[in-house]
Symmetry: C2
Amino acid sequence: MDKNDLKEAGLKITKPRIEILKLLETSEKQHFGAEEIYQELLVGGVKVGIATVYRVLTQFEAAGLIIKHNFEGDQCVYELERGEHHDHMVDLKTGKIVEFHDEIIEQRQIEIAKEHGFKLMEHSLTLYGEFKD
Amino acid sequence: MDKNDLKEAGLKITKPRIEILKLLETSEKQHFGAEEIYQELLVGGVKVGIATVYRVLTQFEAAGLIIKHNFEGDQCVYELERGEHHDHMVDLKTGKIVEFHDEIIEQRQIEIAKEHGFKLMEHSLTLYGEFKD
DNA sequence: CTCAGTGCAAACTATTTGCAGATTT
DNA sequence: AAATCTGCAAATAGTTTGCACTGAG
């Protein structure tokens, strides 16, 4: 339930926050850039400033509600945190993003970190290429 | 041999290019940001403009001489292309970067791409955490 | 001599911040 | 009413570009 997430994060329930969360939760699309979210809201008749979008996304990330990705290119992409960790395949031509998860890779990462005396906190694995659709 | 690399890339042999290539080849450090390279050159008495550094790095990347990384944070990092593919572990506190390579992970990536009908062109795997040194 | 390369400053893009007014609790 | 939040415009940071001049081949 949207509003609870906000409350738990210590954030007041405001229109921009509700709308952004709703967009992320209900859209078939899973990954959005800040500008993209801004445009979607405007098209949906919700008037917000781009600055607010950035601020809200930053707060959501801090609250653990969403995850921020730094794929190739210059802009960041956000997606709802659904609790299931996964990695990404990015189509360099179409921008299409598909998620995947592989236990073997996950385990190897943990082992590698251990071998190097490295305290693994997070990781990012992204495959770039093209879907043969 | 530096100058051959430049010639093969169709780039004229100029001071900025030679110096940047030399810095990347001879430093113990393997990863540099653009600004960092700029500073190193200035300190070394080589006067160049930051714009030239960016231009040269872009050309080097296009020529396959160097690789550009987009780790967390806002600036890109460059390293010499030594032909040996590897991934990275980044210390979130110190910024220290260590390279590693794991055949098991490499193979899994190829299999996963195949399963998804994805033509894998490149990939990026980075572990974030802290070294227990 | 010719064309690629360079430095400088201005332009850009994505993102952030200051501030006065608006909204939530 | 108090504190948080928002929109706007101005400010940043990293990177790119236009242009006249310099230097490599």
